[in-house]
Amino acid sequence: MAVGLLKKVGSDKILTEPLKHPDFFHLSELFSLKDLFDARVHLGHKIGCRHRLMEQYLFGCRLEQDILDLDQTMEHLQQALNFTAHVAYRRGIILFVSRNRQFTHLIESMARDCGEYAHCRYWQGGLLTNANVQYGKGVRLPDLIVFLSTLNNVFQQHVAVRDAAKMNIPTVGIVDSNCNPSLLTYPVPGNDDSGPAVELYCKLFRMTINRAKDKRRQMEILYGLKSQND
C-alpha cells in the first residue's frame, strides 16, 4: 500500500513539475527572429486580401503587400509551441490539419515522424461533431488540433476550426493576413503559403513534440526511481 501511495505522489510530481516553469522544454532556443525572417514568415498577401481582424498583427504594408510583425509572431509562436509541448508531455493526441495541397506530403510525413496524426485530405462534415456515429462509440477525439493553414481550397475558413471550438478542443493555427484568427486558441500570425515557411513550422512542431515526449520518458524514469528508492 505504501508503494501505491508513493507511485501516486510520483505521478503527481511528473504532471505538476512542468507547470512551475514558464519554458520547461527550452523551446525559445529552437527558433530565432532571423530564422523566421529567412523562412519568409513575415510576408503576407496583398492589401486587398486582408482580413480585418489581422490588422493588429501587421507591421505594415509595403507596395500593396502586407508585412506581418515578426516580434508579435515570436511571442505567439513561443506560446503555441509551449502549449503543444505540454499537451505532448501529457500524452495528448495532436492532429495536424492543412488543406494546402502543396504541403500535404510534408505534413503527413512530419506527423508520422513525431508519432502524431495528420488530416490533410477532404474533411467530412461530422468528423468531430458526429464522431460517435461515424466511428463508433467511445472514440477518443484529438486533444489539440494544429492548423498549418486555416483556409480550405475555396478560401473559406476550414470547418475544423469551428468544430474544434464546438467540441472544446484547443487549437493552434498559423494565420496569414487573409485568415480569421478569432476562433483559434493560440493563433500564430505567419506566412502559410511559402515552402520555406511551412518547412520551418513542420520542423519546429516535430522538434517540440519529440522533445516533450523524451522529457516525459526522462521524468518517468527519474520519479519512478525516486519513489522506488524512498
Binding site: L33, F37, Q65
Partner: protein, 188 residues
C-alpha cells in the same frame, strides 16, 4: 613619376572639394604614395603628425578604412557567431532585405530556382512569397531541370484581382514573371 603623382594628387583634391566618395581614386593614391616619403597630402603611411593636416573627406575615409580593417580582422578570427550575436531588429532586417531594397517588382531581373516540373510547366522560386510558373522555352529546353537556376523578369509578386460583388480580392497564389533564360555560370 612625380609628375604622375602630382596629377593624381590634383584629382584627389578635386574629389575632396567636390565631396565625391571616389574610393578607387584614393586607393590609387595610396598605392602610388606608399613609395613617396610624405610628399603627397593625405598619405596613410607613418608621416609625422605635425606635417599632415587631413581634409574633411580624407580624414573620414581614413577612419572608415581603419574601422573596416578592424571589423574584417575581428570577423575573420572570431567567425560567424560574433556577427550573429549582434541582435538585429525586425525593422532593420526588413529594411535591408532584398525584397524591400528592390522596390516595385515590375521589370526587375531576379534569379530563381526551379523546384518542380510538370511536363512543360516550370515552377520557379525566386525568394518571394509565391513561386511563378513559366513555360519551358524552345531554346535549350532540356537544360531546364529541377534545381537549375534561371533568370526572370518579374511582373508581379502576387496575382490578385477584385471581382464584381466580392468582399475581398481573389488570389491565384502565384507570382508572375517572364523567363529570360538560364543563369550563365561565370567562367573561372
Amino acid at each position: 613619376m612625380s609628375a604622375l603623382c602630382k596629377a593624381v594628387c590634383v584629382s584627389k583634391r578635386a574629389a575632396e572639394l567636390a565631396r565625391i566618395p571616389c574610393r578607387s581614386l584614393l586607393g590609387f593614391t595610396k598605392h602610388y604614395s606608399s613609395g613617396e616619403t610624405g610628399e603627397t597630402p593625405g598619405n596613410e603611411e607613418g608621416t609625422p603628425p605635425a606635417e599632415k593636416r587631413l581634409g574633411g573627406f580624407a580624414a573620414a575615409f581614413e577612419l572608415h578604412s581603419d574601422l573596416q580593417q578592424k571589423h574584417d580582422i575581428a570577423a575573420a578570427t572570431v567567425g560567424k557567431t560574433a556577427s550573429s550575436k549582434k541582435k538585429q531588429s525586425f525593422a532593420y532586417l526588413l529594411k535591408h532585405s532584398p525584397l524591400v531594397q528592390m522596390g516595385t517588382a515590375k521589370d526587375k531581373v531576379a534569379v530563381g530556382k526551379i523546384f518542380h516540373i510538370v511536363n512543360d510547366d516550370l515552377y520557379i522560386d525566386f525568394g518571394g512569397k509565391f513561386h511563378c510558373v513559366c513555360k519551358r522555352p524552345a531554346v535549350d529546353g532540356e537544360k531546364y531541370q529541377r534545381g537549375s537556376r534561371v533568370r526572370l523578369r518579374l511582373v508581379d509578386l502576387e496575382l490578385t484581382s477584385r471581382f464584381l460583388g466580392a468582399k475581398t480580392d481573389t488570389t491565384l497564389l502565384e507570382a508572375d514573371a517572364v523567363l529570360l533564360g538560364l543563369l550563365e555560370s561565370k567562367p573561372k
